[in-house]
Symmetry: C2
Subunit: 467 residues, 2 copies
C-alpha cells in the first residue's frame, strides 16, 4: 500500500489532496440517526436526561508496559505529575513544531496501563511513535467502527455510554442501587450498573452533571437495558441520542473535535511519519471542507494555545515532543484564540431560500450538522482581511441558532460582527458537497463555551431583532 | 401478547391510539444515511445513474402452492388474466368495505409461486387471509429489517437492487456482458450480473429507464461489486442512494407508500383480523402524524379510485374481496383524486425561520423527508373547508421545492392554491415530533406524477416570483 508520502506526490500540495477527498461525510457511525427526533434529543441534554452511545465513533488505544507513563508523558503536552489512577485527562500531542495533532481522553487504569479514546490522528501518531522511539510499551488498537456497516455486524472492545443532563443524577442512583460516590470532574470511580461493577468518569456538558461508563462490549445490551430500567424506576424519561444530534453537543460545550493534524510538513520524525502512514488512513483519506483555500497547508494548523489548551502544558517535564516549539509560541502575538460564532439568522435564511430557486444555490446547510469534511475551514473576514477560521458547526435547538467553533486573531473581540464565507470557491471531487456557490453569512463572535447567559447579555443587537 | 383489538380498548378511538404511538420515525433502515450527500443522490436519478439498495425496507412474502393464484386473485383488486410468468404487478388488496389495505409489488416466479414485496399491512392481511379462508397455500414471511440494528447483523432472504437514471442503460450492458433484452415496463427477464443469472424487473421513475434485480442475500456483496465495476467500465459515475434521499424518490414518481390500512373498523372478517393482529405489529404500533385529527378513523381511509388504481380492477373476476363495495364506489362523486401539492416557498421559509426565534416554533420541516409517522395526514383547506389530505411529503433537489402527495375533492383543479395546515394541533406522545405550533403553508395543486414540464407550464404565478 502506498504511504501518505506517496499519495502526496500525486498532488500539487496536500491541501488539494484533502480538498478532493472522496471519503464522504465524517459520520458518527452505527448508532441510529434518530431515536426520537434530533430536536428532542438536543433538548434532553439541556433540560432532561440524555443517553449517548459512544461505543462506535472513536478509536481506542490501550498503552501498557513498563514505559507506558514515560512514553505518554513524552508524546503529550500534558503535565503527568498529578495523574493518579482515579483520573482522566484530555491528552494533547503536538508535533515537534508545536502544532496540534489531535486529542484523546486518556484514562489511567493501572500504574502501567492507560486507555485512550479519540479520533485517529492521535492513535496513529502514538502507534508510530512507539516504534520510532523504540519504547517498551505494548499498544492495542481498536479502530472506530465502519462508517457504513450496511447490515454487517460491528464489534468493539468496549461499550461506552454517557448519561448527561439535569435529571441524570436520579438515574445514577437507581443504576447504582444507592447514592453514587461524589466523583470530581474528570475523575473516575467504580459504580454498580445492575450486577456489574463499571468504571465511571465524571464528565459534564453545559454545567450539567454526567457520567461516562465503559466495559466489555459483550455487556452492552445488559448495560443499556439496566440504564433504561433505572431511568424508568427513577421516573425520568431518558432520551437516547441518535447520530444526527450527537456531534452537535460540542457546539454548546466548546470542544473542537476536528483540528487538521499538523503532520503534512516538517522533516525528520514528521517526514518518517508520512512514510509510515498508509494511503487508507485518516491523514491521507480525510477531507478538508470549507471556503478557506490556501496553498500552504500550515495555514490550517493550530497550536494548543489557540484551542485553549495552554494550561494543560507540563512545563516542568524534562522534555516532551514540541516543548521547545511551544516555549517559543507561548504568548506569541500571532496566536489566535478560540471563540464561538453565532450565525446571522437572515443570512442563513438567504442560503436556505436559494434551495427553492432556479440556478446554482448556495451551499446547503444541513441540519443539525452542516459540516461536510473531517476538518472544516471556513474563512471569517473583517472586511477584506481574514481574521479567523470557523472549524466546526451545528444547529442548536437549545439556543435556536447555528453556531460554529473556531479561532480568531487576538484583535477580535467578543461581540464583533464578522463575515463568514460559506461554501467552497470551486468545484472539488468531494462527494459530500453538491454543486453550489459561495455565500456570506454574518457571524457574531461569542465566548466559548457558548452559553445562553452570555448570549442574552450581549446579543440583543441582532439576534432578537428582525434585520 | 395482546391483539390490536385489545390495545384499541385502551383508547378512546384508534385515531388517538395511533396519534400517540411511540414507535418513532418510520425509516428506510440499515442503509447508510448518505453515501455522497442527499442532494447529489437525488440528482443522480434525474441526471445520471443511481443505485438503490432496496434489500431492507420492505417485507417480502412468498406465496406458493396449488391455490396461490386463486388466493391472490381473490384478495387483490387486480385483474390476473394477463399475469404471465414474465410479469410483475402492483397488487392492491382492499377490505370488504373497499378501503385500501396497502400494496405490494408482486412477481410471478412459477405457475404456483409468487414473490410479494411491500409494507407490512399487505403482508399481515394476506397471512391472516390464508388461515381465515383455509386456503391451500404456503406462505413464507420475511419481515423488513429492524429500524435500529445498532451494529447487530441484519440478514434477509433476498438482496434487492434498483438502478435508475438516464445513464443506467450503459451500466446494464456492461453488467450483462452484452445488450440486455428489451424488457417491457413491469415485465421480468433474466440478465447476467457477472457470473450470476438474476431476474430483472423493468421499472421506471420520471420516465428514466431502470431495472430492479434480486437474488439470494448471500450474493449481495458480489452483486454490488459487480454493479460498481460495470459502472466503472461504462464510464458512469453511479451514485449509491442513502436512506435520507431514498424515500423522496416517490414524490417525483407519484406513488403514495403510506395509506392507513382501512382495517380499524368493520365487522366479520375485519373484526376477526383485529383479534389476529398483535400489539407489536404495524397496525397497532404504527403512527398517524399530521394536522388532520378526526374522531372517526374512517376519515383517514382511501379507496383505490382515489389513489389512481381504478384501472387495475379485474371486474371480470367472479369475485374478490371488496368487489361489491368497489362496484358501488366506482364513479361516486365523493371520490377524491390523487394530486401533488407544491409547497409555497415563502411559507416554508416562515416555518424554518421560527427555529431561529424565541418561543415555540412551527413544526420543523426536516430535509429531505419531513414525514414523522408511518401514515401522514395533513389538512388541506380551501378557506374553512377541508378539501384534501396531504399524505406523503419530501423536498426535491431536482425540482427545488417541497412536494407532497395526497388526495383532494373532485372540485379541486390543478393550479388551485390551497392552504395546508402543517403541524399537529395538540401535544401527542409521539417521539418523532418536537413541541411545536401549527403553521399554514400555501400549496399549489399539481398533477401526479409531478413533472418539471407541468411545473414550468403553469407555475410561474408564484414559484418564480418573490412573494
Amino acid at each position: 500500500m502506498p504511504s501518505l508520502n506517496d499519495v502526496m506526490k500525486d498532488w500539487k500540495n496536500p491541501v488539494e489532496m484533502l480538498r478532493n477527498s472522496r471519503a464522504g461525510m465524517y459520520v458518527y457511525p452505527v448508532v441510529t440517526p434518530e431515536f426520537e427526533n434530533w430536536r428532542n434529543e438536543q433538548a434532553a441534554w439541556r433540560n432532561g436526561a440524555v443517553l449517548f452511545d459512544q461505543s462506535h465513533h472513536m478509536d481506542e488505544l490501550i498503552v501498557e508496559g513498563p514505559q507506558a507513563t514515560e512514553f505518554l508523558a513524552y508524546h503529550g503536552i500534558n503535565g503527568f505529575g498529578n495523574f493518579d489512577l482515579n483520573r482522566a485527562k484530555h491528552y494533547v500531542p503536538v508535533t515537534p513544531n508545536g502544532h496540534v495533532i489531535g486529542d484523546h481522553i486518556i484514562f489511567r487504569e493501572r500504574e502501567d496501563k492507560y486507555v485512550l479514546v479519540g479520533r485517529a490522528p492521535t492513535s496513529n501518531w502514538l502507534m508510530f511513535c512507539a516504534a520510532y522511539g523504540n519504547w517498551n510499551v505494548r499498544i492495542k488498537y481498536d479502530p472506530r467502527s465502519p462508517s457504513r456497516p450496511e447490515g454487517e455486524r460491528v464489534l468493539r472492545t468496549h461499550y461506552r455510554y454517557q448519561i448527561q443532563g439535569p435529571l441524570a443524577p436520579a438515574i445514577f442512583e437507581k443504576m447504582n442501587g444507592g447514592p453514587v460516590p461524589d466523583i470530581k470532574f474528570f475523575h473516575v470511580d467504580w459504580i454498580n450498573v445492575g450486577n456489574k461493577k463499571v468504571q465511571a468518569l465524571r464528565h459534564g456538558m453545559s454545567g450539567a452533571p454526567g457520567l461516562e461508563i465503559w466495559g466489555p462490549y459483550e455487556d452492552k445490551s445488559y448495560i443499556l437495558n439496566t440504564i433504561l430500567e433505572a431511568a424508568k424506576d427513577a421516573g425520568v424519561d431518558i432520551v437516547r441520542c441518535g447520530s444526527r444530534a450527537y456531534s452537535t453537543n460540542t457546539l454548546e460545550s466548546g470542544w473542537i473535535p476536528s483540528p487538521l493534524p499538523g503532520i503534512y510538513t516538517g522533516d525528520g520524525m514528521l517526514a518518517e511519519y508520512r512514510e509510515w502512514l498508509g494511503s487508507d488512513m485518516y491523514e491521507a483519506a480525510g477531507a478538508i471542507g470549507g471556503s478557506f483555500v490556501s496553498d500552504n497547508i500550515e495555514d490550517y494548523y493550530v497550536n494548543p494555545f489557540e484551542l485553549g489548551y495552554g494550561f494543560y502544558i507540563g512545563w516542568k517535564k524534562d522534555d516532551f515532543i514540541g516543548k521547545e516549539a511551544l516555549t517559543k509560541m507561548k504568548d506569541a502575538p500571532t496566536n489566535r484564540k478560540k471563540v464561538t460564532f453565532e450565525w446571522n439568522k437572515e443570512d442563513v435564511l438567504k442560503v436556505i431560500s436559494s434551495a427553492f430557486e432556479e440556478g446554482t444555490p448556495y451551499k446547503w446547510i444541513d441540519f443539525p450538522q452542516p459540516n461536510y469534511a473531517s476538518s472544516s475551514a471556513d474563512m471569517v473576514m473583517h472586511g477584506d482581511k481574514m481574521v479567523g477560521m470557523s472549524m466546526f458547526n451545528g444547529y442548536s435547538w437549545n439556543e435556536r441558532c447555528l453556531l460554529s467553533l473556531g479561532v480568531v486573531d487576538s484583535s477580535v473581540e467578543v461581540g464583533d460582527v464578522l463575515t463568514m464565507k460559506w461554501g467552497e470557491p470551486d468545484d472539488t471531487a468531494k462527494t459530500s458537497a453538491e454543486p453550489h456557490k459561495q455565500a456570506e453569512i454574518r457571524v457574531r463572535v461569542s465566548p466559548t463555551p457558548y452559553s445562553s447567559e452570555a448570549r442574552e447579555n450581549y446579543a440583543d443587537s441582532w439576534r432578537t431583532k428582525a434585520a
